[in-house]
């Protein structure tokens, strides 16, 4: 009898737990926030039924550009990647942006804190103090359930989140290489989102965008031209052109290296090619202004 009772209780508890785990996903707002960071783009879906005030406010702040230039100041690989308070970003927010920022009342719910969950940050002793700083969960955190407002979910950009989670940080969990939101955009509809080009994980710099247009073929072309000069020197072109060709190879190789190291973080083959390419390049540079010591130059 006791065994049967225990079994019934166990089934009940498991059932309740399963029911809780299988809570239907909350309705997602039609708008999406697209965080364009220097390590790739992430799409955030918001829960207007669960956290209506948070949803409304965050969309407003994103449209005003409040998140532009804000960095992830805290990254704990199995816990959270937390955006800094936009009030203190550099350059400082405009008066219009500052005016739009205000504390949000807590909108706690039964939703759980899991990887990819968007959770509003607040001061420990003030549940209604959330403003602009929020976290993307990097792992499950049940101790936060019911204590922090869950207002959305990372919809796309898991690879970007993985890259952020792998960032090297100091003892205060601040990434050594800043992870920054370059721009936060709002896609008002799924169609608008479909029209946006999203960048995969990798280290990006907008100042390099103009280079990327011609980098793969332009860089490789320059390397090949340099090598051609080197090979043809002493045959078809004067010897000094061979060394000049090697200098061209060096400059082009440096450009390719700068452009491709970020890609190495998502492609092992790229990483391997760069790793092996470096000593080959140095070996080639050994021929710079080399002579055969019979009086003629090799390059």
């Amino acid at each position: 009898m006791r065994k049967t009772l225990f079994l019934l209780v166990a089934i009940f508890v498991c059932g309740v737990d399963a029911a809780a785990q299988e809570t239907p996903a909350p309705r997602v707002a039609a708008e999406r926030i697209v965080l364009r960071t220097n390590v790739g783009d992430m799409v955030l879906a918001l829960y207007p039924d669960v956290a209506p005030r948070h949803t409304e406010q965050l969309l407003k702040l994103a449209r005003l550009g409040v998140f532009d230039g804000v960095n992830f100041f805290r990254v704990e690989s199995t816990f959270v990647a937390q955006l800094a308070d936009a009030r203190y970003k550099q350059p400082a927010p405009s008066p219009e942006q500052l005016e739009a920022i205000h504390p949000l009342p807590a909108e706690f719910s039964a939703l759980r804190h899991r990887r990819g969950t968007l959770s509003m940050a607040r001061y420990d002793d003030r549940p209604d103090s959330g403003e602009t700083s929020f976290s993307i969960l990097l792992g499950d955190a049940p101790h936060l359930d019911g204590k922090y407002t869950v207002f959305g979910q990372l919809e796309r950009g898991q690879d970007v989140l993985d890259l952020i989670a792998r960032a090297t940080c100091d003892e205060r969990h601040q990434p050594l290489k800043p992870v920054v939101v370059l721009r936060a955009e709002v896609a008002d509809s799924p169609e608008a989102l479909a029209g946006m080009s999203l960048r995969p994980a990798g280290y990006y710099d907008e100042r390099l965008e103009w280079v990327k247009g011609f980098m793969p073929w332009g860089g490789l072309g320059a390397v090949l031209c340099g090598l051609l000069l080197f090979v043809l020197s002493r045959r078809l072109v004067p010897a000094a052109f061979g060394s000049a060709g090697l200098l061209l190879v060096m400059v082009a190789f440096f450009g390719l290296y700068v452009a491709y190291v970020p890609r190495a973080h998502t492609s092992r083959w790229t990483a391997l090619a760069l790793f092996l390419g470096v000593p080959v390049f140095f070996k080639l540079m050994n021929r710079f202004e080399g002579r055969r010591f019979d009086g003629s130059k090799t390059a």
Binding site: R166, P175, A271, V278, F288, R292
Partner: protein, 384 residues
């Protein structure tokens, strides 16, 4: 018809094995690093954290050895019109190119500077390895050990393998590394690359050792240990002592020490030959002091005055300017070293067989020939 006739070279004594003497050569070529490593390992078991005195000691040695060693290269290139005219691109085209790289780094310190610094750091290890191979070949030649194609392949495979292993180790980490405040990204290589590089090192090392044993058996001679010392030191610097923070601080010093011993000997020999100066202790002392003073002064200019001047003129601060300038000067050093130390060039290889004893007293008194050894004699072609 031209028939090559090789003149019979007169019997000449074999070149001296050491540049100075066993003690000095062993210390400079790698012995000092072995002793230092052992001493540090005894005092600090793990070496995970750098001791405070190590930083100070390394800084002092940097001033007296590292900076002068870079300056010695520049001095060697620019002091001679012949060198400058022989290597015009290295002398006049490469410096502006490097200055352009430095300017780009100053303009974009968070974008270009990390890669500029990274290029220098990657090249630096390769440069150390090249020097280790070169010095091994010099001592092998002095010892009469024939470094054939296979021996050179195994030796290079081993020495450059240690470099690849060290790079694979640092590039396997996630995130960024740091050089005097400038952080640069790693490639995030798979761990497997590191493992494979490790196997490669030991395989090449084993093959080289077997070739050495074979030579010893064939020639019924024991190979002088100093021939193997550069390779052993390289293994210590790049593999065995790589994780010892205390030891690592001194590795550039050990590399510079190797360099300065040879550059000093070369400089004296060349100076004596070109000036037609008779061997004498006074000349060696005077010229050594003059040469030392010049390279210390040039080193101070390149590594102290130049970064400070650029830091104040660009407004970037010494913390940013210093690593960029250090990287630029050293990249130039790699270029210059690459052209002025070609062992295939008889003008380089011949003085590399000098012994200081020959320079402080007349050849007859020294019992050693100042002239190039028999194997350096060139074949003479005669018209039929």
């Amino acid at each position: 018809m031209r028939i090559p006739v090789v003149n019979a070279a007169p019997a000449r004594p074999a070149p001296h094995l050491y540049f100075v003497n066993p003690l000095v050569d062993f210390a400079c070529i790698g012995g000092a690093s072995v002793v230092t490593f052992a001493a540090l390992a005894l005092v600090y078991r793990t070496g995970a954290v750098q001791a405070t005195w190590v930083w100070t000691a390394a800084a002092v040695l940097t001033w007296v050895c590292n900076y002068p060693h870079f300056a010695a290269t520049n001095y060697r290139l620019y002091q001679s019109k012949e060198n400058v005219s022989q290597y015009p691109l290295t002398a006049f085209v490469v410096p502006p190119l490097i200055v352009a790289g430095m300017a780009a780094s100053f303009a974009l310190p968070d974008l270009v500077a990390p890669y500029f610094v990274k290029l220098f750091l990657l090249w630096s290890g390769y440069h150390y390895s090249g020097q280790s191979v070169g010095i091994t070949c010099v001592y092998a030649r002095r010892a009469g050990f024939a470094v054939g194609r296979l021996e050179r392949l195994a030796l290079s495979g081993f020495i450059f393998g240690t470099y690849l292993l060290a790079v694979a180790r640092s590039e396997s980490g996630v995130g960024a590394l740091n050089y005097y405040g400038i952080s640069y990204p790693t490639l995030q290589l798979p761990q497997l690359v590191m493992v494979m590089a490790g196997y490669w090192v030991w395989m090449c090392g084993l093959v080289f050792l077997l070739l050495v044993v074979n030579w010893c058996v064939t020639n019924r001679r024991v190979l002088p240990p100093i021939v193997l010392l550069p390779a052993g030191a390289q293994l210590l610097w790049f593999v065995i002592g790589a994780n010892d923070a205390n030891f690592n601080a001194f590795v550039p010093f050990f590399h510079s020490l190797q360099y300065l011993l040879i550059a000093w000997s070369m400089h004296l020999k060349e100076r004596m030959d070109t000036g037609g100066i008779e061997p004498s202790r006074a000349f060696v002392a005077r010229e050594s002091l003059r040469w030392g003073a010049v390279i210390v002064a040039v080193g101070a200019f390149l590594f102290w005055m130049l970064p400070h001047a650029l830091a104040s003129s660009t407004g970037l601060g010494f913390q940013v300017a210093a690593p960029i300038v250090l990287a630029g000067v050293q990249i130039h050093h790699f270029f210059v070293d690459g052209v002025i130390w070609k062992l295939k060039n008889p003008k380089v290889s011949s003085p590399l067989l000098v012994n200081i004893g020959q320079l402080v007293r007349p050849a007859s008194a020294a019992g050693l020939s100042v002239a190039p050894p028999a194997e350096a004699a060139q074949p003479v072609q005669q018209a039929a």
